[in-house]
Subunit: 154 residues, 2 copies
C-alpha cells in the first residue's frame, strides 16, 4: 500500500466497520459462553427494538429498517425459542403486540451483562473518558444524519 493510498486502510468507515464487528462478535460469544445460544445478531435487531411493554410488528420493522415481512420472520424464529410471544393488541383487532416472556426478560438481563463485559473491555483499551466521548460523538452523528437517509418500502 503506497502512502498515496493510505486512505484505503485508514478511514472512518472501515474502522467503524471492523470495530462494530469485533464488538458484536464479543457479545454473542459471551452470551453463548453463559448458556444463551438462542439468538444471533440478526435477532438482536429485533430484541433491541422491543419495548418492555410490547411493540407492534410494523413498528419493530420500521425501527429496524426492515420490511414487515422480514421482521415477521424474525419474530417467528425468536418466538420458537420462547423468548418472546405474540399477544392480541387490545387497542386494535388487527394488530399483535410482540412481548418478552419471563424467559425473555431473563435473556435480556444476560444480554445486558454481556454488553457490559464488551464495553468494559473497550474501556480497558481506550479508557473510560474516551469511550464516553465516543458514544457521545457517534450518537450526535447518528441524530444529525438520521432522516437524511432514504426510506424503505414495506
Amino acid at each position: 500500500m503506497t502512502l498515496r493510498n493510505a486512505w484505503r486502510r485508514n478511514n472512518i468507515g472501515r474502522r467503524m466497520n471492523e470495530a462494530v464487528r469485533i464488538f458484536e462478535n464479543r457479545i454473542i460469544e459471551h452470551l453463548k459462553d453463559h448458556g444463551h445460544a438462542e439468538l444471533t445478531s440478526a435477532h438482536i435487531n429485533l430484541t433491541r427494538n422491543l419495548d418492555e411493554d410490547g411493540t407492534r410488528l410494523t413498528e419493530l420493522a420500521r425501527r429496524a429498517s426492515l420490511t414487515k415481512q422480514s421482521m415477521s420472520e424474525l419474530v417467528d424464529q425468536v418466538e420458537r425459542t420462547g423468548l418472546i410471544e405474540k399477544r392480541p393488541d387490545p387497542a386494535d383487532g388487527r394488530a399483535k403486540l410482540v412481548c418478552f416472556t419471563e424467559k425473555g426478560f431473563e435473556w435480556l438481563e444476560a444480554f445486558h451483562q454481556s454488553l457490559e463485559v464488551a464495553e468494559n473491555e473497550m474501556r480497558e483499551e481506550l479508557g473510560v473518558a474516551m469511550v464516553d466521548l465516543l458514544v457521545e460523538a457517534l450518537g450526535k452523528y447518528v441524530e444529525a444524519r438520521q432522516g437524511k437517509q432514504p426510506d424503505l418500502a414495506g
Copy 2:
C-alpha cells in the same frame, strides 16, 4: 423506556451499529448518484482488501474473514461488472491474482471521492479533531482485540 433501562438505547454497540449503517449507506448512495451503481456493500468487502498490484483469492478471503468459497462468489460477481479481473499468478501455477482493471481504478477513484464526502459530513457534525480522535480510538480498539476473535474454517 424507563431510566433503569436506558442502557438499551444508549450503548456503544448500538451507537456504532447505527453510525456505520448510516455512513455506509451514504457512500453507496453518493456513488450511485455519480454513476457508479455497480457494487453493493458486500462487494466493498472485496475491493477494500484488494491491493493495487493484485491479491490472491485466499488472501482476500482471509482479510475479509470469509471462506474462500464465499469470496470466490463475490469475485465472480464483481468480475462481471468489469471492475476486476483474474490473472494467472506467475509465482504459483495454482493461484490466480485478482486485480483491478482500468475501469476498476476509475471506480476506486470515485469510491475515494464518495468516502471523502461522507467523512466531511461527519466532520461537519463533530469537528475535525473529534473525527481524528474517533478514527484513532477505533483503530486502537480493533488492533488490541484483533486475534482474540475465533478463526473461521475455510
